[in-house]
């Protein structure tokens, strides 16, 4: 294998790269998002400066079903997103993500710094209830429930599509081979080519169970705000660096 071939590889292993080059198209991506209010001091600790967490103390607990994802396959994801601001601009910070498929874990961590770990999330319609569960290391750590297509979301699919264009960001950390930080950045991206196929709201309930390696319950639930359920096609492109901790430290 020549240096030119090596530099054109999208990912490891060279013998069969885990993920191809982006962008990545998702078809029939189904979201279930339960918004809740948490402790303001704990929220501040979970958000890396210079991001500032939202003043309402809101957290989004998400399940996402991805049956058709180019390069990645068929998988499900669950985790926590914290609405923040960066230089005054609204931005969603992904704090924790759990999924059941290796290529999007590796690509997510290595390209965009999505904080992904392997676990078993699930979304299902159980009789009248849209139900999300998350199992980590054999234990249930999250269980959310919503009414099924209970009420069309205000503004319909257009408003939901507009909301999905909001800038999202991650804290990307990749160590050097000596353990020192090689990449330590806030990384931003925006979904493109969004077509929302349906969008609903409903009352919701959420249970988070303390677990050291999947600490979703570290941002405890003070009050449930509500649930949102929507289905969309969209494209996840590459992104941009918002803030570089290594360069910032170097002055």
């Amino acid at each position: 294998m020549t240096p030119e071939q090596i530099l054109n590889l999208p990912s490891m292993p060279a013998a069969s790269p885990s993920y191809p080059m982006g962008p990545y198209r998702f078809v029939d991506r189904e979201y279930m998002i339960i918004t809740y209010e948490t402790d303001h001091d704990l929220l501040r600790q979970a958000v890396p400066e210079p991001l500032v967490p939202n003043v309402d103390g809101h957290v989004l607990y998400e399940w996402i079903r991805m049956p058709d994802s180019s390069g990645f396959g068929d998988y499900t994801e669950s985790g926590l997103v914290i609405p923040c601001t960066f230089n005054g601009e609204p931005i969603n910070f992904t704090a924790q993500m759990y999924l059941d498929d290796e290529p999007p874990i590796s690509a997510g961590r290595e390209i965009w710094g999505f904080p992904k770990k392997y676990a078993l999330p699930k979304i299902e319609v159980a009789s009248d209830t849209l139900t999300g569960t998350l199992q980590y290391a054999g234990q249930l750590v999250a269980m959310g429930t919503m009414g099924f297509k209970y009420q069309v979301a205000p503004g319909g699919v257009q408003a939901t599509a507009q909301g999905m264009t909001k800038t999202q960001c991650n804290l990307k950390i990749i160590p050097d081979v000596d353990g020192s930080p090689k990449i330590c950045q806030l990384v931003a991206y925006n979904l493109t080519d969004i077509t929302v196929k349906g969008s609903w709201i409903s009352p919701a309930r959420l249970q988070l169970i303390p677990h050291v390696n999947a600490p979703v319950a570290d941002l405890p639930i003070k009050r449930i705000i509500g649930g949102k359920h929507f289905i969309a096609d969209l494209t996840l492109p590459h992104g941009r660096v918002l803030f570089d901790y290594v360069k910032d430290q170097a002055g």
Partner: protein, 246 residues
């Protein structure tokens, strides 16, 4: 979280880093190493320049890792191609499959171990040491070896090569999709304490699978097996060659 605390994190996510800082001590690490003759042209194509191929024999290794500091309990399969780097005999780690996130993410992100998620198993069944690997629900590798046939009859301490430099090809993209890291990394295990080693007859079957292509180095003839039980420490590595600097 303060910026200085962010820089001190060992890994993502901020709230529960996937892996802690190294080095990483492994206790009762068990190997089954099955060596086989393969296609020399395919072996050469699988090696990144400037590594050079040695011989016509590669190995598929099963690892049972019941106690890995920071990583937990898991199993792995690796495909190893012997090579030289600047004249030194080394082992290029070409493919690796594990069933546990911390070593998978830490392996890729620190050293560039070419790890994907596969279900490896190494166990004794009756009279046979058996290794299997499932990828995406299909069994793609089956290895078998006689169980401790040469106890007391041979000293294997010279054949083990556990201290030989391992080489990985570390590739990490930048946020724009271009390569941010493209390096050959050298790794040397330390504090190796071998508790037992046995050689013996072995067989190996590799099944073609596109996302787990062990059989791209086909089995022409199984040379033999080596079972090892050891304690050893995985330290950080060093950059041997930087493709972006050349």
């Amino acid at each position: 979280m303060k910026k200085a605390d962010v820089l001190a994190l060992p890994s993502m996510p901020l709230q529960s880093p996937t892996f802690p800082r190294g080095p990483y001590r492994f206790s009762n690490r068990q190997y089954m190493i099955l060596s086989y003759k393969s296609d020399v042209k395919a072996m050469r194509e699988a090696l990144p320049e400037p590594l050079e191929l040695v011989g016509d024999t590669v190995s598929v290794q099963w690892l049972d890792l019941p106690d890995g500091e920071g990583f937990g309990a898991y199993s792995a399969v690796a495909q190893i191609i012997p090579c030289t780097f600047r004249g030194e005999e080394c082992n290029f780690v070409s493919q690796m499959y594990v069933d546990n996130t911390p070593p998978l993410a830490g392996g890729r992100e620190i050293w560039g171990y070419p790890m994907k998620n596969g279900k490896a198993s190494l166990h004794v069944n009756g009279d046979t040491l058996i290794g299997t690997l499932e990828y995406a629900k299909q069994q793609v590798a089956t290895g078998s070896m006689v169980y401790k046939h040469d106890t007391f009859t041979r000293d294997h301490s010279v054949d083990l090569h556990l201290d030989r430099t391992q080489i990985t090809l570390k590739l990490i993209p930048d946020i724009n999709g271009k390569p941010a890291i493209a390096q050959l990394v050298g790794i040397n295990f330390t504090d190796i304490a071998v508790k037992g080693a046995w050689a013996g007859r072995a067989r190996l079957e590799l099944t073609p699978a596109v996302n787990c292509p062990l059989s791209d180095l086909p089995v022409y003839e199984t040379v033999g097996g080596l079972q090892i039980v050891t304690d050893m420490t995985l330290p950080y590595g060093r950059v041997l060659h930087d493709y972006l600097a050349h």
